[in-house]
């Protein structure tokens, strides 16, 4: 176990700057998730931490020791790969014990520790099998076993769940989190899945195009996103963005988006006052919308699609009149996640019919996020 210091880390491949000036302090025992769309530099950062790639500039300290120029095997880290990378010619027992053998552990010690790791992961029945005789989930456990058996100072996990089916992914997600809490090893986990990041992390580092966008707890990122990218990336379905103008209504500020009036909360009023009469981007979480009561300010829309999930429904719609919706880069950088379509997440009782005109209003006490259209930064 150890604390990690990443100082001004940069990585360039020729003219391409894959990682730009990353700095981060990770506390001992912390579970940190690097999240972002493909090509955001998260895996590059992880490989540099593992020593599998050299940093162009910057330093990495593990437990106070500068490991920037050390070979991967000398950093006392363990890594779980996306495709597991189990040694196909070795049995599960040999796979798990390989790292210990390389470090000169005695056979007795290897056997004891492999058994202990196998018990923790419930894979004792497969120890004599080869990886090809295992299912995806079992392979994943072996890969985890190989990592925990050495009791390293740091775990690095590179999208370890992305090859599993949805149900198994949820199960393994919980198991990895529980395992990490139990053994308390500092962990850096890379994923492009914001749900994984939100459910597993103590802190999330959200990245885009090699630049760290925001570092914070899942709640901080969800409730106080630093910019449009973070706001759009965290949360599912993604936040809706609407273009509007800040208006001053007898001292209280609001946003007018084509007739739809969105009140600005008191804590944002001071910052928003500089934008009166100017264009602004509002962010509204899909769950902040509801069917409006009669007399309540509302947006009249005709849903283009209603997805029912049993206890809730996603109502897809477009803003009437002008194009107010703002397209935002989503999980895949080149695609816009909200290509003009907005989503309301309605719960039981609030179930409209397709084709029917729906009046959507803002839930009481729900917050509207405000962003500067030029800088895309949050106004707060």
């Amino acid at each position: 176990m150890a604390e990690i210091q990443i100082q001004n880390l940069n990585k360039s491949y020729g003219a391409f700057h894959a990682l730009k000036d990353m700095s981060l302090h990770i506390a001992d025992g912390e579970f940190v998730v690097f999240v972002g769309p493909s090509g955001c530099g998260k895996s590059t950062a992880l490989k540099i931490l593992a020593g599998l790639e050299a940093a162009s500039t910057g330093r990495i300290m593990i437990g106070g020791e500068d490991v920037t120029d050390l070979a991967p095997g000398k950093r006392d880290i363990a890594m779980v790969f996306q495709n597991y990378a189990l040694y196909p010619h070795l049995t599960v027992r040999q796979n798990i014990g390989f790292g210990l053998k390389m470090r000169g552990a005695t056979k007795k010690e290897i056997d004891e520790r492999v058994e202990r790791a196998a018990q923790a992961l419930e894979i004792t029945d497969f120890l004599e099998r080869r990886p090809r005789a295992l299912s995806g989930g079992q392979r994943q456990r072996v890969a985890l076993g190989r990592a925990i058996v050495r009791e390293p100072r740091l775990f690095l996990m590179d999208e370890p769940l992305s090859n599993l089916d949805a149900a198994l992914r949820v199960q393994m997600r919980a198991e990895i989190t529980a395992l990490q809490r139990r053994i308390g090893t500092t962990t850096i986990y890379v994923t492009h899945d914001q749900t994984e990041a939100m459910t597993m992390a103590d802190r999330i580092v959200i990245m885009r195009k090699g630049v760290v966008q925001q570092i914070g707890s899942p709640d901080e990122l969800f409730n106080h996103p630093a910019n449009i990218f973070v706001a759009g990336f965290i949360g599912s379905p993604a936040m809706n963005f609407i273009r509007g103008t800040v208006i001053d209504e007898r001292g209280s500020l609001a946003v007018d988006a084509g007739g739809f009036r969105l009140p600005i909360s008191v804590d944002l009023a001071a910052a928003a006052s500089a934008y009166v009469g100017k264009e602004i981007i509002c962010g509204i979480r899909p769950e902040s919308l509801e069917l409006a009561a009669a007399g309540q300010p509302a947006l009249e829309v005709v849903p283009s699609l209603i997805e029912s999930l049993g206890n809730e429904a996603y109502v897809h719609f477009r803003m009437p009149g002008r194009q107010f919706a703002v397209a935002v880069a989503g999980e895949h950088e080149h695609e816009a996640s909200s290509s003009g379509t907005l989503i309301a997440r309605l719960f039981d009782g609030d179930r409209p019919q397709a084709g029917q005109t729906v009046r959507l209003g803002l839930k009481a006490n729900s917050s509207v996020h405000l962003f500067d259209p030029a800088t895309e930064k949050a106004i707060s």
């Binding site: 593992a50 020593g51 599998l52 070979a71 991967p72 095997g73 880290i77 363990a78 890594m79 790969f81 996306q82 495709n83 597991y84 990378a85 189990l86 040694y87 196909p88 010619h89 390989f98 790292g99 390389m102 470090r103 080869r130 990886p131 090809r132 005789a133 295992l134 995806g136 392979r139 190989r146 050495r150 090859n163």
Partner: protein, 276 residues
């Protein structure tokens, strides 16, 4: 896939016919080697000799230099294959894993050298070996064979290494291996089928060579390989076809044994289970 009965009959009939065509020369070699030399041109041909002449084989083994020639062939093939594999594994691995300036050009150059016909290389090789004093030595043949095996083996192995996920070496390095350790402890064992197929190719190429052996070893009877030796059984006025066939069968035997031994490595799929 389920086949209908007529489809199965057609398939198996075709297979039997093809196998018969392929095995007929071998069968003909066997019966020719066992027939008395004067019965070779008898008509109608006998499909199994009435009195198999097994002594043709014992004569070959005990009264000629055949065992020595086989030993020479084996020595040349094993050493040439060994040297070629050592060079090719390292060359193929670096071509597969490391990007270097001009790496592609090096790869193409290796591939191009494979396209040169053996007859074109034989004259410069002759000159080189004569200047080095290697004429008549088995080393001349070992070096000549290695020059032929290395280019092909390098390309074959590069393709194989390309198919192995890089994460395997990375995992090995995180587990404490050096890059060399990762190659020898993980990549090479995983590549066993590719290595076996490539080594077998090299071995067969060396074993089957006549041109180089005839050129470089002509005046060193003690160092003749099996193929050069067998050719001497063809006399100016009389040829003992039964002896030649028996010797050819003996010469083919090591290849068959090598195939049987390496067969289990030649089936692919050893990397199954490394990843998802």
């Amino acid at each position: 896939m389920n086949r209908t009965l007529p489809q199965s009959i057609l398939l198996y009939t075709t297979l039997v016919v093809v196998i018969c065509i392929l095995l007929f020369p071998v069968y003909w070699m066997v019966i020719t080697s066992l027939a008395p030399s004067n019965a070779l041109r008898s008509f109608p041909p006998q499909f199994w000799p009435q009195n198999p002449q097994w002594q043709t084989y014992t004569n070959l083994i005990f009264n000629t230099d055949m065992p020595r020639w086989l030993m020479n062939s084996a020595l040349v093939a094993v050493v040439a294959t060994g040297i070629s594999m050592l060079v090719s594994v390292l060359a193929a691995y670096s071509l597969s894993r490391y990007t270097m300036k001009g790496g592609e050009a090096v790869g193409l150059f290796i591939l191009m050298s494979k396209m040169l016909p053996a007859t074109m290389l034989i004259i410069p090789l002759f000159g080189i070996f004569r200047n080095l004093g290697l004429m008549g030595s088995l080393w001349s043949l070992i070096i000549a064979h290695a020059t032929a095996i290395v280019p092909f083996a390098t390309w074959m192995l590069k393709g194989y290494f390309d198919s192995i996920p890089q994460e395997l070496e990375q995992a090995a390095q995180v587990d404490g291996c050096t890059p060399w350790g990762a190659l020898f402890r993980v990549i090479l064992p995983v590549s066993a089928p590719g290595l076996a197929a490539t080594a077998l190719y090299g071995f067969v190429l060396s074993w089957a060579d006549y041109l180089y052996a005839r050129t470089f070893l002509a005046n060193a009877a003690g160092n003749w390989t099996a193929n050069v030796g067998i050719a001497t059984f063809k006399g100016e006025y009389q040829t003992d076809w039964n002896v030649i066939m028996a010797a050819s069968l003996l010469a083919a035997l090591p290849i068959m044994i090598a195939y049987l031994f390496l067969q289990r490595y030649l089936v692919g799929g050893l990397t199954a289970g490394a990843g998802k």
